[in-house]
């Protein structure tokens, strides 16, 4: 079946098999391998992209369902001159990633989240990222990064300084 869509601002038309999952269309057909696959039950969120501005798990959508849609993947987030998106920058500055596998999905989920809930607090960030799993960070620095990107400054005690510095 033929679909036309825009991905990261580039429009194109493709013949796809109806059963092709959107994530494999992005990865195998378009070569946009930044979007990762971490599970097969819509649990982990590694494959999160934006479809018409909303965060979506691209493993739980058929490519044919994206016909006519505007998609943004992690590859489309940084500016054309290479400047990182503020959310990417915040993840960098807050050490919000280690192995980096969940990161594209986490960043895409987080950008959608703070657009929908500007000024959100720590609890809202944690709840809003319920659909994205990370195995490296314990989420501590991811939450800090999202709060920083959201411009939330009054982070709660649990994320406060850790530099009391006992010396033995």
């Amino acid at each position: 079946m033929q679909i036309s869509l825009s991905v990261n601002g580039v429009s194109s038309t493709h013949d796809v098999e109806p059963r092709q999952l959107l994530v494999y269309f992005l990865r195998d057909t378009l070569g946009l391998t930044g979007t990762n696959v971490g599970c097969d039950t819509s649990s982990c969120g590694a494959c999160t992209i934006h479809v018409d501005g909303d965060s979506v798990k691209s493993c739980t959508m058929l490519a044919v369902q994206a016909d006519g849609c505007e998609l943004t993947t992690i590859e489309g987030l940084a500016a054309a001159d290479g400047t990182l998106h503020p959310m990417q920058q915040a993840f960098h500055e807050n050490h919000g990633l280690q192995c980096g596998y969940c990161t594209p999905g986490m960043v895409m989920a987080a950008t959608s989240l703070i657009e929908e809930q500007p000024g959100l607090d720590e609890a809202a960030v944690r709840e809003g990222l319920e659909g994205n799993l990370c195995r490296c960070t314990g989420y501590h620095n991811i939450v800090a990064a999202v709060l920083a990107a959201a411009g939330t400054t009054d982070t709660e005690v649990s994320l406060a300084g850790t530099e009391a510095g006992v010396r033995s």
């Binding site: 990865r27 097969d40 039950t41 649990s43 990633l97 980096g100 990222l129 195995r135 314990g138």
Partner: protein, 824 residues
């Protein structure tokens, strides 16, 4: 091994005292010292933008996709396998059974750790031929031109099985009623005993004022790196080489093992670990699919690739933990512990993987933890079960050991009637006792100072206020109660001194290699044998070298994870990378500096001994005007027009460093949980960790490691469990059923640290990759038990699921009087 091993385990004396210059100041009088700075990671931008290439991202023209056909039975004889329909399916190139590939293996799948001379190790190959021993054991492989075609065709392979009785519980397996490998006649893999003086242990128990005897179950865990595994083999049919890409922590070990297993000359094999999406021990292995892809690529003369699905992970990638622990303590009237006895039943699974039998023993020599317990007995019987093989998972043996001693200490505190912290204080190995030869006689703990971490952690919690609130809720009959858990852990890191490994019968060494090379244009290449997959070695190693050379770290490139670029190394696991691999980098850089001094001295007509590194230059001490930049020296070494007599061209040094001892990081963790006694729901409210990993190269990275480690340990305690039913069916296959926690269940973590340098390496560093995981599970479980102690709950296994907590409350015998040993 049936004796104490004391004679065999030689632990080298501690290395030279810590290089204070490496700890305190820059060493080069440079205010811009990197060591200790929270430098942002250079690894991030490609990972943040989708530029990084993980295994499944690689573009491999012409590659065939492999999909494995796996057993749905836990134990069965294989009858016929009909591959005809699959072979005829669209896009299918070949379908192979184990029998067809029998000639492709030069050796069985490798186990590198034959822990005893009489250890039972049933040979197994990537595809089973006669029988399957666990659900997921592979029997056939489909090769097709697309992923879809391979998946579709695999469903058409028809396998006839003759099901056999199965046993998944290790204690049942130990009874040998149902045999995993009927031809072996036993399920016992090995027995191991570390009891230096059995009589003394028994005497101490006889004389004890207080004893505790506890049983704990270390449930199986799925390591669950977010990236499933994957591998691809790319042959050069005419050139004879083969390049293997794999999502692995161990490209070097894998190269060696692929050569041995597939019968390929090792010098013809190159292994590349691309971006690797987490490992946690699960990618510290040699897997059937890796070996299979090599064989199939050679057989078909074309690239072959395989990517694991998440549902496949649970059946194809090793599980962690899997032990039943019996621990007994004998203490005097004041709670001073004089003896301990530990008996383990280790669950090996269906076969032995790379390190399977050694994992329980990594804890077996340190069950005493941070306590001075003079009399020690550790016995372990490991058995086969009809389940996925177990192997290293973050901490590997040490979380289990720590859990047992730390929970048993809480049980003892209740008996003695003192607070958990007071009991710990009475038993800590004191700072002046280091270096401390532990009760096995085999391990010399080089350093430690435990009490400050406890004091600080309790201060951060505000222990008095929290206990008051706990009591207030109890008095008010509040259905939501509070529990406080404490754990002081010690880990044995920096794997490992090769001679110790020899005594443990591990087949290889524990050194690490590094090459440091100054390029003629001023840049530096660091080649490391470590293989990072999230730990930030590129950033940290560059910081180390930049400090030593007095240059901008951006001038330092760190190369790794490709055996063609980094031919020597033993990879990344066991919190070894900094203390072993980083030390190799440090020492190689020192050698580069020495050589640069000889060349610069020659060119400047000064004694090399009079030269010092100042901000990227070699300067004659006291004569700043007389200097050469390191770049000038590197160029001179490259041009080789005028070198000292006998000096080789180029400014490069390679070091292989074998550590003289393990390192012994430690810390105290404290958790506050709220328990809903009506539903059994446990919520972690606060988590405090005061760790001591020695001097921190990059505290930002250290904290990240601690955060992630803590949550994995918390998850061990509260959520995660790989569940087998009695038929050996695995019931937790997806991330919907296996409960990896999200941010929504998790609080932020409160960290602090103390600094006790290790004397065993020049930088005093110790390692931090596993600390959080080791500390967290006992901390949380102690908190759960503490929270329910007023209801009479004293025992509970992990994970503390709502139902398990609720059941424990229901079945507890509620004390009528103020119960013995409750925290005041």
């Amino acid at each position: 091994m049936n004796a104490t091993g004391t004679d065999e385990l030689t632990v080298t004396e501690a290395a030279d005292t810590v290089d204070q210059a490496g700890l305190e100041a820059t060493g080069n009088g440079d205010a811009e010292r990197m060591f200790g700075q929270r430098r942002l990671r250079r690894e991030d931008p490609p990972l943040l933008t989708g530029e990084s290439r993980f295994i499944d991202d690689l573009d491999l023209p012409g590659a065939l996709w492999a999909v494995l056909v796996r057993s749905p039975y836990a134990n069965a004889n294989i009858g016929s396998i009909d591959t005809s329909a699959a072979a005829a399916a669209d896009g299918v190139v070949a379908v192979h059974t184990g029998a067809e590939l029998a000639e492709d293996w030069a050796n069985p799948m490798p186990c590198a750790w034959p822990v005893t001379d009489d250890m039972v190790n049933p040979p197994h190959h990537p595809l089973a031929t006669d029988a399957v021993r666990y659900v997921g054991d592979a029997v056939a492989v489909v090769l097709a031109t697309t992923r879809q075609a391979a998946v579709d065709a695999a469903e058409q392979v028809i396998v006839e099985y003759e099901p056999l009785p199965a046993v998944a519980d290790p204690e049942e397996a130990a009874a040998n009623q149902v045999l995993v490998h009927p031809d072996l006649g036993t399920n016992v893999c090995y027995d191991y005993d570390v009891t230096p003086d059995p009589d003394a242990v028994e005497a101490a128990f006889s004389a004890a004022a207080h004893t505790v005897s506890e049983r704990y179950v270390q449930q199986r865990l799925l390591p669950s790196a977010m990236e499933p595994r994957g591998t691809a083999a790319v042959p050069e049919p005419f050139g004879g080489n083969i390049t293997v890409y794999s999502s692995t922590q161990i490209p070097h070990i894998l190269k060696l093992m692929l050569a041995i297993t597939c019968g390929v000359p090792e010098h013809k094999v190159r292994v590349v670990a691309p971006a690797v999406g987490g490992g946690f021990g699960a990618k510290l292995n040699v897997y059937a699919e890796e070996v299979l892809c090599v064989a199939l690529a050679r057989r078909h003369g074309t690239p072959v690739r395989w990517t694991e699905t998440r549902s496949e992970t649970a059946q194809a990638t090793i599980h962690g933990r899997g032990q039943v622990q019996y621990i007994e303590l004998a203490a005097d009237d004041a709670g001073k512990v004089n003896a301990m006895k530990v008996r383990l039943v280790g669950d090996m699974g269906g076969y032995l993987q790379l390190l399977t039998p050694g994992i329980p023993l990594l804890g077996g020599f340190i069950y005493h933890g941070v306590y001075d317990i003079p009399n020690y007995s550790f016995k372990c019987q490991s058995v086969f079960t009809n389940a996925v093989p177990t192997d290293a998972y973050r901490g590997a043996g040490r979380p289990e050991a720590t859990y047992a001693i730390e929970r048993a200490m809480d049980a003892l505190a209740r008996k003695v009637g003192v607070t958990p912290e007071e009991l710990r204080r009475r038993n800590y190995i004191r700072p002046e006792q280091f270096p401390y030869t532990n009760p096995t006689g085999a391990i010399v703990m080089d350093s430690g100072n435990y009490e400050p971490s406890l004091t600080r952690a309790l201060e951060m919690l505000g222990i008095d206020d929290v206990r008051a609130e706990q009591q207030r809720r109890r008095d008010a009959g509040d259905s939501k109660v509070l529990g406080i858990g404490i754990c002081t852990y010690m880990e044995m890191c920096g794997l490992a001194p090769s001679r110790t490994l020899a005594a443990l019968k591990y087949s290889a060494g524990g050194w690490e290699a590094a090459t440091v090379r100054m390029l003629p244009t001023g840049g530096v290449q660091v080649v490391t044998g470590t293989s990072p997959h999230g730990q930030g070695h590129e950033t940290s190693w560059a910081m180390l070298v930049a400090d030593q050379l007095g240059i901008d770290p951006d001038l330092v490139e760190v190369l790794h994870s490709d055996t063609a670029i980094s031919p020597l190394g033993l990879d990344t696991y066991g919190s070894r990378s900094l203390s072993v691999g980083g030390t190799a980098v440090h020492l190689a850089t020192e050698q580069v500096i020495e050589k640069a001094k000889r060349i610069a001295g020659h060119l400047m007509e000064a004694s090399p001994d009079d030269l010092e590194v100042v901000a990227g230059s070699l300067q004659v001490k006291g004569t700043p005007s007389k200097s050469m930049t390191l770049q000038e020296v590197a160029f001179a070494a490259f041009a080789a027009h005028d070198l000292p007599e006998g000096e080789e061209p180029n400014l490069e040094a390679q070091v292989s460093w074998d550590p003289p001892n393990f390192t012994f990081p430690f810390g105290t963790h404290v958790a506050l949980v709220e328990i809903d006694t009506e539903t059994g729901d446990v919520r972690l409210q606060r988590y405090i960790a005061v760790d001591d990993c020695g001097p921190q190269v990059n505290p930002m990275i250290v904290e990240g490691q601690v955060h992630g480690g803590i949550l994995q340990g918390v998850a061990h305690a509260l959520w995660e469990e790989a569940v087998y039913d009695t038929d050996g069916q695995l019931r937790t296959v997806t991330l919907g059923d296996y409960l990896v926690p999200s941010a929504a269940e998790t609080p932020g973590f409160e960290l602090d640290h103390t600094v006790t340098p290790s004397p065993s390496n020049p930088m005093g560093v110790k390692g931090v990759g596993e600390a959080g995981t080791i500390g967290a599970a006992p901390t949380v479980m102690n908190a759960v038990i503490d929270g329910l102690s007023h209801l009479g709950v004293t025992a509970m296994d992990m994970p503390a699921s709502p139902q398990r907590v609720w059941s424990a409350i229901q079945s507890a015998e509620r004390p009528t009087a103020p119960q013995e040993g409750s925290a005041p």
